[in-house]
């Protein structure tokens, strides 16, 4: 509850600078908070309520001013057409009022007003008016009459359904011209007032943000310490703490504990018992080159401990597939610029990781761009006579499609093989037979397809039939009828990789369409502008499409063959900085 309040207030203050929060600031706050936890919580709670009230007052005042400013702005806009009429010196000693009237009744209202004013002054009355339409049905009428006739004009207009226009602000002035001045003055003064509130809030955030955040961290720690202490089975002489620690940091951690507590601590480590294996948390550990790709795993539940972490495969295949879809040297250079910016200037580790992933995509896009001979579509060919190293994908559709399906076959087979190995390691007959059967069926299909054209079809055809039969037996043994469906699913999965060619083709054609506009409209500003806009659209689609589809191929087609995602992340007993209060 208290933690929620603290985070709520940080949100009101728009403070999110957890990364810059120093240990010194946390230490200072800890020194000031010397009371026991329950008293401390009570005291902080009281102070927070007062502080929150003050903050809410500021926020409400700002909201009211913003709302008023919007209404004043609308009124000024509305009165723009009447400004010269209202300020006309000839109307100085007369009364001016504004009225909303129905557009369809306008002529009737005007005639009625004229008649009543004339009858009062026996035909010699002079009055003037201006109207301006708003929307389809309404009309704002500005009437100027001598002071003596104002009550009569007001009665007549009200009697004909007119509604008096009111200023959005409470002005002491009665005359319309003074109200206009009042509105103008407030229009100029409100932004200054809002600016001052914003400055005050920013100052408060700067001063109080780190303090509140430190307080949040300390309370969070206290609570976690209490939870751990409750599980420690304390006696008068000792207490026992048990927890998981990754094997690669155990030596450092134990050395630190020995140095800090000396002989007063007894450290004992052991492997999990057979009952505990399912509870072992997972800590992903990858080399620095492939670590950014753990981002893809972090979007899912982690793999069960001691199963396969596919990060290294994603690190190779993700940029490879995405690059194959983008396949343009020009776009690759743009992605490289974005990736460098994120890598160097990224404010959070996630942004830096995205930058590193995009760097891989840029590198493969560049290489595929050389293979396809594309530089912003066919501009490379037109300006520098660039030729494709492999094929021009906008013309040779079938080879690229066949290649992407072959890639898919290899990728899916790797996934199935990992699943098969997992089945062997875990002694899971169902998994082993199902994945093994799938592999055999796919190999059989490739052999049968190859036997149609290959020179030694007499060997390939019977081998294919044997593999097919073996595969079907294993599949049925492993998964029954469901296994057969899984087998068909694998073929569908491989065909799904044709999207690499399809997205690449659409990207290449869109880039060519951009150049066509320059052909049709010539080297004019319009032609270049349209071509530029199409390239921008294509670039955005290329980045978004290639990333999403490449990720999907990994999540669905590849990882679906072996990944279980039944693990839980290793959450060490440590200081945590960033927390989303909505998650709590």
């Amino acid at each position: 509850m208290l933690r929620g309040k603290l985070l709520g207030m940080l949100e009101i203050l728009h403070w999110d600078d957890w990364g810059a929060l120093s240990e010194e600031s946390i230490r200072k706050t800890k020194e000031r908070l010397s009371l026991p936890l329950d008293q401390l919580t009570e005291e902080i709670d009281k102070s927070l309520d007062q502080f929150r009230e003050r903050l809410a007052g500021y926020a409400k005042r700002k909201e009211t001013l913003q709302d008023l400013y919007g209404r004043i702005k609308n009124s000024r806009e509305m009165l723009r057409s009447f400004r010269s009429f209202i300020k006309d010196p000839a109307q100085a000693d007369r009364n001016i009022s504004l009225w909303w009237i129905d557009k369809t009744e306008a002529s009737k209202v005007m005639t009625s007003l004229e008649d009543s004013l004339k009858s009062e002054r026996e035909g010699s009355c002079s009055y003037s008016h201006v109207t301006h339409a708003f929307g389809d049905n309404q009309l704002l009428l500005c009437v100027c009459v001598p002071h003596a006739l104002q009550p009569l004009a007001e009665r007549t207009l009200r009697g004909n359904g007119g509604i008096r226009w009111r200023a959005p602000v409470e002005c002491d002035e009665k005359d319309t011209i003074d109200i206009l001045h009042c509105i103008d003055t407030m229009f100029l003064s409100i932004p200054d007032e809002i600016k001052k509130i914003n400055e005050d809030l920013a100052g408060t955030a700067l001063e109080w943000g780190p303090k509140l955040a430190s307080m949040f961290i300390l309370i969070d720690e206290e609570l976690e310490e209490n939870v751990v202490a409750q599980r420690s089975n304390p006696t008068e002489e000792y207490f026992l703490l048990e927890g998981w620690i990754p094997a690669d940091v155990f030596a450092d951690a134990s050395a630190f504990l020995k140095e800090r507590f000396g002989a007063s601590i007894f450290l004992h480590w052991r492997y999990p018992t057979s009952d505990e294996w399912q509870d072992v948390p997972t800590a992903l550990s990858n080399p620095s080159g492939t670590r950014p790709y753990q981002l893809f795993i972090s979007l899912l539940r982690p793999p069960t401990y001691n199963t396969f972490d596919p990060t290294s495969f994603i690190a190779f295949f993700f940029p490879f597939f995405a690059g194959c879809m983008v396949g343009d040297i020009g776009y690759a250079l743009l992605i490289f610029v974005i990736s460098s910016f994120l890598w160097v200037k990224g404010s959070t580790p996630v942004k830096k990781d995205v930058g590193k992933i995009l760097f891989g995509v840029a590198a493969w896009s560049f290489l595929w761009g050389i293979a396809y001979g594309e530089f912003f579509g066919d501009i490379g060919h037109r300006l520098f006579h660039m030729e494709p190293l492999w094929v021009e994908r906008s013309h040779a559709v079938l080879p690229v499609m066949a290649f992407s399906v072959s890639l898919g076959a290899a990728h899916v087979l790797i996934g199935l093989f990992i699943g098969f190995v997992r089945g062997l390691r875990e002694k899971n007959n169902h998994l082993r037979n199902e994945k093994g059967g799938n592999i055999l069926i796919l190999l059989a299909i490739f052999a049968l397809l190859a036997s149609l054209k290959a020179p030694f079809s007499t060997v390939l055809f019977p081998s294919g039939i044997v593999l097919l039969l073996l595969g079907l037996i294993l599949l049925v043994a492993g998964g029954g009828i469901g296994g057969l469906i899984e087998g068909l699913g694998s073929i569908g999965n491989i065909l799904s990789y044709v999207r690499i060619a399809a997205i690449g083709l659409s990207s290449a054609i869109l880039a060519m369409v951009a150049s066509k506009f320059v052909d049709i409209l010539g080297l004019s500003i319009l032609g270049i502008l349209i071509a530029f806009l199409i390239h921008v659209l294509n670039f955005i689609l290329a980045i978004a499409g290639s990333g999403l589809h490449s990720a999907r191929l990994h999540y669905v087609e590849f990882m679906g063959k072996f990944y279980d995602g039944n693990g839980k992340y290793y959450a060490p007993f440590a200081r945590r900085r960033r927390t989303l209060w909505k998650k709590q």
Binding site: L300, R301, G492, L495, V498, L548, H549, A551, Y555
Partner: protein
């Protein structure tokens, strides 16, 4: 005339699955947005579910390409 019919057939082969994909993705997307708002950790699963119907239009595209290359 024959080319026009092939072009229409190819367009239908892509267009109809595209409509079906769009319908399915709209349904999954709205449900997914709600789910992710409640449980941000389901984002990965939602991306997978959102991407599944796209296979229809990809296969439609393959059929369209086949039609054009075989008959046009």
């Amino acid at each position: 005339m024959e080319k026009a019919i092939i072009a229409i057939a190819a367009a239908l082969a892509v267009g109809l699955p595209a409509l079906a994909t769009a319908y399915a993705q709209a349904k999954i997307g709205s449900a997914g947005a709600g789910t992710v708002a409640e449980k941000p950790e389901t984002a990965g699963t939602m991306i997978i579910l959102e991407a599944i119907p796209e296979t229809m239009v990809i296969l439609g595209f393959v059929v369209a390409i086949m039609l054009i290359l075989q008959f046009a």
